[in-house]
């Protein structure tokens, strides 16, 4: 009888545990599902549509939603549905790319500082502290003005704004991990530093990093939209949700649909990302969860 009881429950890893808890969080699941739908529409939608996002139809002008143009057209007669979906592509891509930039810099910086410790750590974190005090938003605005509207520069600049907090979180995690016994054991076994970092540190750091990454993407998308709204980000005919919202706001009186749909997509995406991030945080950090 005892053998049967012992054989029944296979062990669960941290990730399986977290996944089970995540699945139970309805808002997070909703967020994840919404994200997949939106991402799918954005990346594959434009391929299936009959209208291109840049084909103008000046005769039509800004027309309300109809059978032909499901979300209406903008002032140059471009199909709004295509523009919103294409804008989704750009916004999501910029979000992911900028987050990848900040993730890379922050992860490397934090891991190095945390693991090497001592003076290197002190210097590296002092730099972070000083950089933290600078109002990066203003710099990014100036940067985009000075160096023109280069698309790659856009997400490097945005990514450069967000890496600081990532570095701090990573360093904190690494510091906490360093004191754990399994790291001591690895050192005692004679593993080289690089192997310890790659094989033991990074997988354990991934938890909070994943959470924070999911929460950084909406922050980055907000910044991109903010810049585009001021005219400093993505330029027409490329569209991003920020740019579409700006154009919609300008034509608000005559053509409210131009504002409402991009705004709805944008807000829904941010919603989903935030819920997903919150859910991940609750799922992975046992102490912080409410149960």
């Amino acid at each position: 009888m005892l053998e049967a009881a012992q054989a029944a429950e296979p062990g669960r890893s941290l990730w399986q545990d977290a996944w089970a808890r995540l699945r139970r969080n309805r808002m997070a699941v909703f967020g994840g599902a919404a994200l997949i739908v939106i991402a799918g529409l954005s990346f594959f939608g434009p391929l299936l549509l009959s209208h291109s996002y840049e084909a103008q139809n000046l005769v039509l002008g800004a027309a309300p939603p109809s059978g032909e143009h499901l979300l209406g057209t903008d002032k140059l007669g471009r199909d709004q549905l295509a523009r919103v979906l294409y804008g989704g592509r750009v916004s999501l891509l910029v979000g992911l790319a900028a987050t990848a930039v900040s993730l890379t810099i922050g992860l490397l910086w934090g891991c190095t500082a945390g693991y090497l410790g001592g003076r290197v750590d002190a210097v590296m974190m002092r730099t972070v502290d000083i950089l933290y005090a600078l109002p990066f938003t203003i710099f990014v605005i100036l940067l985009m003005t000075v160096f023109g509207r280069n698309f790659i520069l856009l997400f490097v600049a945005i990514g450069a704004v967000e890496w600081l907090t990532m570095a701090r979180i990573v360093r904190g995690q690494v510091l906490a991990l360093k004191r754990q016994e399994f790291i001591e054991a690895a050192i005692a076994l004679g593993l080289r530093k690089r192997r310890i970092i790659v094989r033991h540190m990074i997988p354990n750091v991934l938890g909070p990093v994943a959470v924070y990454t999911t929460l950084t993407i909406p922050a980055v998308m907000l910044l991109e939209a903010f810049l585009s709204f001021l005219g400093l980000g993505v330029q027409p005919p490329m569209s991003s949700w920020g740019l579409l919202i700006k154009e919609g706001a300008e034509m608000m009186e005559e053509a409210p649909w131009l504002l409402l749909y991009p705004a709805a997509f944008f807000t829904l995406t941010l919603f989903s990302l935030n819920f997903l991030g919150d859910g991940l945080r609750d799922a992975l950090d046992v102490r912080a969860s409410k149960d």
Binding site: I130, A133, L134, P135, T137, I138, F139, I141, L142, L143, T145, V146, F147, P218, L222, A225, F226, F229, L230, G231, L232, G242, I245, K246, G248, A249, M252, E253, P256, L259, A263, F266, T267, L270, F271, N274, F275
Partner: protein, 305 residues
Amino acid sequence: MLQFIARRVLGTIPVLFIVATITFFMMKAVPGGPLDTEKNVPAEIRQQIEAFYGLDLPLWQQYASYMGNLLRGDLGPSFKHANRSVNELIAAALPVSLELGGIALAIALAIGVTLGIAAAVRQNTWIDYLASSSAMVGICMPTFVLGPLLVLAFALHLEQFNASGWDFPRDRVLPALTLGLVYAGYIARLTRGGMLEVLSQDFIRTARAKGASEARVVFIHALRGGLLPVVSFLGPAIAGILTGSFVIETIFNIPGLGKHFVTSVFNRDATLTIGTALFYATLIVLLNLAADIAQTWLNPKQRVQ
């Protein structure tokens, strides 16, 4: 404590210096200046104008003279607004922005803290979900989305307010509401989290056991600790309200500092851009410092760093 403050204040000086330098060189890298859009200017006049603005000096000299002026508090003449100095323009626009920011902050705190306390005290009831969802909406809807939507609803459809302008007291409502609601969301979440943490502590249990009324427990005992996360957020919040004012003032056509900053960037008005950028940067740095000091003063555990 005083040592801590002194050290932090000294620490901000290199930061401000770096900000000034970076801003200066960035604007110098931008093509264009006071002579940009003018008609063909004869050579002697061009020389005179350049001499007036100091543009004919070598770069390092311009930098040195700019820094020198800065130390005296002189931000130089504006390139595009003839005959007006940057100091003048900032002085004229600042009260407007401060008013906007102040009202927005008040709204954010009033709504945010109230929602947060309500959510924490009635955790997991419909009040909690309502408050948390509203907070989430505030977080996910940026100012430039909320602003036009509010204008669409209240100014265009219901015709209660003007869509733009700053002439009447009524005009304060929509812009401040837009800016404030976003931060109300963050503050609500933070208050809820902070209150929940404090309410689960033993001393609250003691107070209840001693027969204190629920109101007393919440407002007199728990609130102080529960508001700590909000206080530490105030620094970034005010910085955010300041940068958020760029967009709000542009949308609602408010003659504030943010609008000056945005238009100066597009007009390539170098001195005005650097001046306003520097002003904002200094303000943000000082506010962060104040927030840090306030946080340390309120939470003795933080002093042991």
